[in-house]
Amino acid sequence: MKQASLSIDSLREVVKTLPDNGLTPSREAALAHLDEHGLPTLRDEDWKYTDLSPLVDISNRWLTAGGQQRPPKLPSATIEAVKTSIDAIWLVISNGTIDEQSIGAIKHKGIEVTRFSDAPSPFVMSRPLADLNAALLQDGLRIRVTGPVEKPVAILIVDRAGESVAVAQSCVEIEVASGVAAEFIEYHASEGDADHYANTVLSIAVGDNADVNHVRIQNRSTRHVQTGRTSIALGRDARLRMASYDLGGRLIRNDIDIDLSEPGADIAFDGLYLAGDGQHIDNHTRVDHRVGPATSSQEYRGILNGNCRCVWNGKAIVHKGADGTDASQANHNLLLSDKAEIDTKPELEIYADEVKCSHGTTVGQLDETALFYLRTRGLDKRHATQVLTHAFAADIVLRAPVAGVKDAITAIVEARLAELIEADAAADLLS
C-alpha cells in the first residue's frame, strides 16, 4: 500500500526556524535519523494495524504552511478545570511550549525542574516518532525528585487547535533518586476544531529501591491525533505502579518500552481504553527482562462501541540468563457493537530457564444473562448496560496507584462511558 510520506524538506526548513540553543545538535541528529529511516508504515510489523497517514497529512500541511509554533494563551478554561480536579504540583506544556511560570512556581524541596536547553543531553531517542519529536522539540522538561514530596507531581500536556492545523512536540524526562517514593500524573488534553497532532516522549528512570506511582490520563478531543512513547528503566529493587487511561483521541498510538536490567525490579502497568465511533486506539508495550529475579505484570482492558478499532500488543522478552522472571500479560475487551474491531496479541519470547510467564486475552460482548438479571430488578436496558460496562472498567479504575486521582478518573470514565452508551441508545432508536 502506498502511504504518504513526511516532507523532510519542509521539516528541515521548519527546524531552521527554531531558536538556536543547546538542542540544536540533537535536532540535527534527529533530522538525519528521520531522513534515513522515515516514519513507520503498515509494512512494519509493529505498525501494521495503525495507519499513520492522518498524522503525516497533518504534519505536512503544518510544515508547508511554515510550521509556526502557536504562542500559548494561558490560562485556558481547560487548564484550570484539570488543575482544579486534581490536587497536585502542576507543570504545564501548552502547544509544545513549556509554561515557565509553572516551573517558577515550584518551591518544593526534593524536586528539581530544569529545561533541556539548560543542560542538553545528546540525542538518543532513535525509536520511531521519537526522532520526529527530537527534530521539532522547542524545549524539554527534566524533573528530578530527590526527596519526599507531599503531593503528586503532575504534567499537563494541553493543546489548543484554534483556526488552523497544528503540530506540537513535548518531551519530559523524569528521574527518581535512589530510595525515594514519588507520585506522578501525566494528563493529556486538547480542544479546538482544527486538525491537531501531538507527539510526546517521556522517560522515567526509577532509582535503586525507589518506589514510584504513575497515572496517565489521555482525555483529548476525539478530533485530534496523538502518538506517545514512554521509556522506563528500573533500578535494583525498584518498584513502579502505573495505570493508563485512554478516553479520547481520533488516532492514538502509545508505545511503552520497559527495561529491567537490575535484579529485584517490580513493575505493574495497567490500562483502560474506551473507544467510540471514529476512534483508533493502539497500545504497544514491550518489556525486556534482562536479569532476574524481576516481576512485570500488565492488564489492559478495552470497551469499544460503534465503528472503531483498538489494538493491544504486549510483548515480553525474557533474555538469556534472566532466571527468576515473573511476567504476566492480560488484555480483556468488551465489544458493544458489531462494527467495533480489536486486534489483540500477547507475545512472549523466553530465552531463560527458570521463569514464570502467563498471558491471556479475551474478547466478548455484554453478558446477556447478566443484562436480563438486572432488568428483572427494574433497571432499564441502558442503565443495566451502563452498570455492566462500569463493572468491566472498575477494576482498572480502582487500580489507579495515585489515591488523589481516583475520583477524577472515576468521573471522566463515567462521563465517557455514558457518552458511548448514549450513542448506542441513539443508534437503537434509528435502527
Binding site: D367, T369, A370, F372, Y373, L374, R375, T376, R377, G378, L379, D380, K381, H383, A384, V387, L388, H390, A391, F392, A394, D395
Partner: protein
C-alpha cells in the same frame, strides 16, 4: 392477579409450553411441580419477560393488563419478582448498589423520590439479619464468589427489599442445606399477605413442608396435567412423576 390462558412458547425451534393455563389470585401461594424439562423454568422466564422465549399463542394478563407487552424492567416495576434458579454473578457491581438501584427504579415508577440512604441500609441490614446473612455481603460484588446457599439467600433479600406483588421463585430450594432452606422459607412466609401472590417452582416436595401452598400444579410436557391442594405434592413424592406422566398420556 395473574391470568395465563393457553400459553404456547418456544425457544429456537423447540416448543416448550404447549397450551398452559393458570389463574393466580392475590393472597394465594401456588406450587408448580414437575419433572426436569417439563417447562417449569420456561414459565418463570416468560412471566419475567426473557426475550429468548417467543410467545406463539395465548395470553398473560397481570392485574388486567397485557403482561406480554411489557419489557422485563417494566414488569419488575409493576411488582413482579423472579428469584433465579441460577442467580447471576456480576463482579464489579456492588450488591448494595444493585439493591438500591432496584428499589429506586420501582419508587420512581410509583412517583416516589429516591430512598433515604441511611434508612435503606438500616432496612437492608435488618432483612439480612433475619436471613442469616453477614452484612459484609452488601459490599461484595453481586453474587460474586457466593456459595449456592448464599446466592439463594441473596435472591430472597432482593425480594424482601422490593416487596413484590407477585413473586416467582424458580427452584429457590435446590441445593440448599436445611438451615438455608429454613431461612429462605422464613423469608417467603414473611412476604405472604392478602395482597400478594407467590408462585413456587420446585422439583421437590421438601420446600412445601416449610411454605404451605394453597394450590399445587403438576406440569408435564408444557401443560398443567393435574392441580390440587398440598396433598397432591405428598402424593407426587410418594408415587413419582411417572405417575402423572401416565395420567397425562391416558
Amino acid at each position: 392477579m395473574l391470568e395465563i390462558k393457553n400459553l404456547k412458547s418456544r425457544i429456537g425451534d423447540s416448543e416448550i409450553l404447549r397450551g398452559l393455563s393458570l389463574s393466580v389470585k392475590a393472597g394465594e401461594v401456588h406450587a408448580i411441580m414437575g419433572p426436569n424439562g417439563s417447562g417449569k423454568s420456561t414459565l418463570a422466564q416468560v412471566i419475567a419477560g426473557h426475550e429468548d422465549y417467543e410467545v406463539v399463542d395465548g395470553t398473560v394478563t397481570y392485574n388486567g393488563h397485557d403482561l406480554l407487552e411489557l419489557a422485563p424492567e417494566e414488569r419488575a416495576r409493576e411488582g413482579i419478582f423472579l428469584g433465579f434458579q441460577y442467580p447471576v454473578e456480576i463482579p464489579g457491581v456492588n450488591n448494595a448498589y444493585l439493591l438500591k438501584a432496584a428499589v429506586n427504579a420501582k419508587r420512581k415508577h410509583q412517583g416516589l423520590g429516591e430512598v433515604d440512604a441511611f434508612e435503606f441500609l438500616k432496612l437492608a441490614r435488618e432483612k439480612m439479619a433475619t436471613l442469616g446473612m453477614d452484612p459484609k455481603f452488601l459490599n461484595r460484588g453481586v453474587n460474586e464468589g457466593f456459595s449456592g446457599g448464599e446466592k439463594k439467600r441473596n435472591e430472597i433479600l432482593q425480594m424482601a427489599m422490593l416487596e413484590p406483588r407477585l413473586a416467582i421463585l424458580d427452584e429457590t430450594d435446590s441445593g440448599l442445606d436445611i438451615d438455608a432452606l429454613k431461612a429462605v422459607a422464613a423469608g417467603v412466609n414473611a412476604l405472604r399477605s392478602p395482597d400478594r401472590a407467590i408462585i413456587l417452582v420446585t422439583h421437590y416436595q421438601r420446600l412445601l413442608d416449610y411454605v404451605e401452598p394453597d394450590y399445587v400444579h403438576v406440569l408435564s410436557q408444557g401443560r398443567i396435567v393435574r392441580s390440587g391442594d398440598k396433598s397432591l405434592a405428598l402424593e407426587l413424592e410418594e408415587k413419582g412423576y411417572e405417575w402423572v406422566r401416565e395420567a397425562a398420556n391416558a
